[in-house]
């Protein structure tokens, strides 16, 4: 395996029943990467993540991982059962499943958890129930749980889905800080302008890999139309590519005419 490569997918295909979710995907994550997988709903983004995490078995192709690679996964916040009776501290330490005879939180575990919470700006919230947190805090608790596992590769599924603008900024800053601290990050997102365009690398996926590279190279009308199946325009704003949906302006014009 090439030095520095954490995960390498070669000709990877996964299917649900007879329907292919991803087909013949070649994709590599290298140490220090900060990469977003983008694509429409049903493009196979989450399937690719789950195949890498080992939760789904591919029907063909190979996934090679660096031996002993420590990965941690942050699921979509919408999939979390917020009514479940757990405190922030319980959520974080549950990942250390190998306990001594008595499952009490040890002083060492508590200290480790508190230092992760402090790092993520959640100090003092350890005894709160997860429902009593703000949207940004909830997202950060699950990132904290992942970091408590001390991962080399942090995998996040739609970290900004269903959150408000302020929370999205918080998440983006947090991920940038973690990347600055040396954590390799792989995430999926629907959010082209709010998230993907700010990262060093993005992969456009629609069952197959359509483009892979820096946003300035990948974000072109041709690639976007091929990925999303709809015409889109790309503008430049402050050195960052901004994707404009043609349909939006078209509908606005129609509504303007009608009113």
């Amino acid at each position: 395996m090439t030095p520095g490569v954490l995960v390498a997918c070669e000709h990877l295909s996964c299917a649900y029943g007879t329907t292919f979710a991803i087909k013949d995907v070649d994709f590599t994550v290298t140490s220090g990467d900060f990469v977003a997988i983008v694509g429409p709903s049903g493009a196979g983004k989450t399937t690719l993540l789950k195949a890498i995490l080992g939760a789904i078995k591919p029907i063909s192709g190979h996934i090679t991982k660096k031996p002993g690679l420590r990965m941690a996964y942050v699921p979509q916040v919408e999939s979390v059962d917020w009514g479940f009776p757990v405190t922030v501290l319980e959520v974080i330490v549950m990942t250390r499943t190998k306990t001594r005879l008595w499952p009490r939180v040890t002083a060492q575990e508590r200290n480790d958890a508190l230092s992760v919470l402090e790092r993520l700006g959640l100090a003092g919230l350890e005894n709160r129930h997860i429902r009593e947190l703000s949207g940004g805090q909830q997202q950060r608790v699950f990132v904290a749980r992942a970091l408590f596992h001390r991962p080399e590769l942090l995998v996040l599924d739609e970290p900004t889905s269903g959150v408000d603008v302020r929370t999205r900024h918080e998440v983006l800053h947090l991920l940038a800080d973690l990347h600055g601290d040396g954590v390799t990050i792989l995430l999926t997102t629907h959010d082209l302008n709010g998230l993907a365009a700010h990262l060093p690398r993005m992969v456009c996926l629609n069952s197959v890999v359509i483009a892979d590279g820096a946003p300035s190279d990948v974000l072109t009308p041709e690639v976007l139309e091929k990925t999303y199946g709809a015409p889109m325009e790309v503008l430049q704003h402050g050195g960052i590519a901004v994707v404009v949906d043609h349909a939006g302006s078209h509908i606005a014009r129609r509504l303007g005419r009608q009113s």
Binding site: D81, G83, V86, T87
Partner: protein
């Protein structure tokens, strides 16, 4: 003073009877056991599975009676097999999983009824299994319920975090290295065995209430999973103990009285914990 002595002596009257002592031991341990497992049943939204499983075990109990196989062996194998099968159906979340569970369990229940009608001492056996009976409790029942209780407490303690992780967030637990499928099989086996050893006292029809009520009360009282695992068995055991004593004095069915005591506690807690308690119970996730 004399009145207090008289009331005290009257409260102790049932303890003169061997059958009552046996019954109250089994019922109290059963309340504890159902309290522990009920936490998982309630938080996983498995109340229907618990209800169905008790019906499936009834089929096994009837078949073992007719075939003259030891109850614990016959109904145990049948119950554990049904439990694992139901667990698999539920986990795959195929369309109509609830219907599939309904078919498996009610078919087992119907088979049990038919077998007892045809070959057994139908009326007596059916009533005893459906509603439970303290009169028929033997020493072997006490031993069986105590063995299952000790095993369940040891397993839940040793595997506490794996059980918590797999219940709260099975997908991430799997990715983090927890063998979620095995945790679920273990849970279904423990649930089947619990139903098996408590069914003779509590009965098929009311056992699921003993699984659900104490855990639901505990959920209203706390926001901590660890505390639920203490509160729920304490409520289960207390309801069973008080219910058994009341049943003797009121001359009512033991299992029905136990469940009614639990229900009364539920109503009091529901009324006194206010919006906070009610929202906790309302937010229980159902799969």
């Amino acid at each position: 003073m004399t009145n207090i002595v008289l009331v005290g002596a009257s409260l102790l009257t049932p303890y003169k009877y061997h059958f009552f002592n046996n019954g109250i031991i089994v019922a109290t341990v059963a309340g504890t056991l159902c309290g522990v497992l009920g936490v998982f049943v309630v938080l996983r939204g498995m109340s229907y599975i618990g209800h169905g499983l008790s019906h499936a075990v009834f089929g096994g109990a009837a078949a073992s009676a007719v075939m003259q196989i030891n109850y614990f062996v016959g109904a145990g194998v049948w119950g554990v097999a049904s439990g694992v099968l139901i667990g698999r159906i539920a986990r795959r979340r195929i369309i109509g999983a609830d219907a599939a569970i309904g078919v498996v369990t009610t078919a087992s229940f119907a088979l049990g009824l038919a077998l007892l009608n045809r070959y057994g001492q139908a009326k007596k056996s059916i009533e005893a299994v459906l509603f439970g009976s303290v009169l028929g409790v033997r020493t072997s029942d006490i031993v069986a319920v105590c063995i299952v209780a000790v095993c369940v407490v040891i397993i839940v303690t040793l595997m506490y975090r794996r059980f918590l992780f797999a219940t709260f967030d099975p997908e991430v637990a799997q990715v983090t290295g927890v063998k979620v499928a095995w945790v679920e099989v273990l849970l279904m086996v423990m649930l089947s065995l619990t139903i098996l050893v408590t069914m003779r006292v509590i009965g098929t029809l009311l056992i699921s209430a003993l699984l659900v009520i104490p855990a639901s009360i505990a959920r209203m009282l706390t926001n901590s999973f660890a505390k639920m695992l203490w509160i729920s068995p304490i409520i289960g055991a207390s309801s069973a103990f008080v219910g058994m004593n009341l049943a003797y004095h009121l001359d009512t069915s033991a299992s029905a009285t136990i469940i009614l005591v639990g229900t009364a506690v539920f109503i009091v807690v529901y009324a006194t914990t206010g919006i906070r308690g009610r929202s906790r119970i309302a937010n229980i996730h159902h799969v």
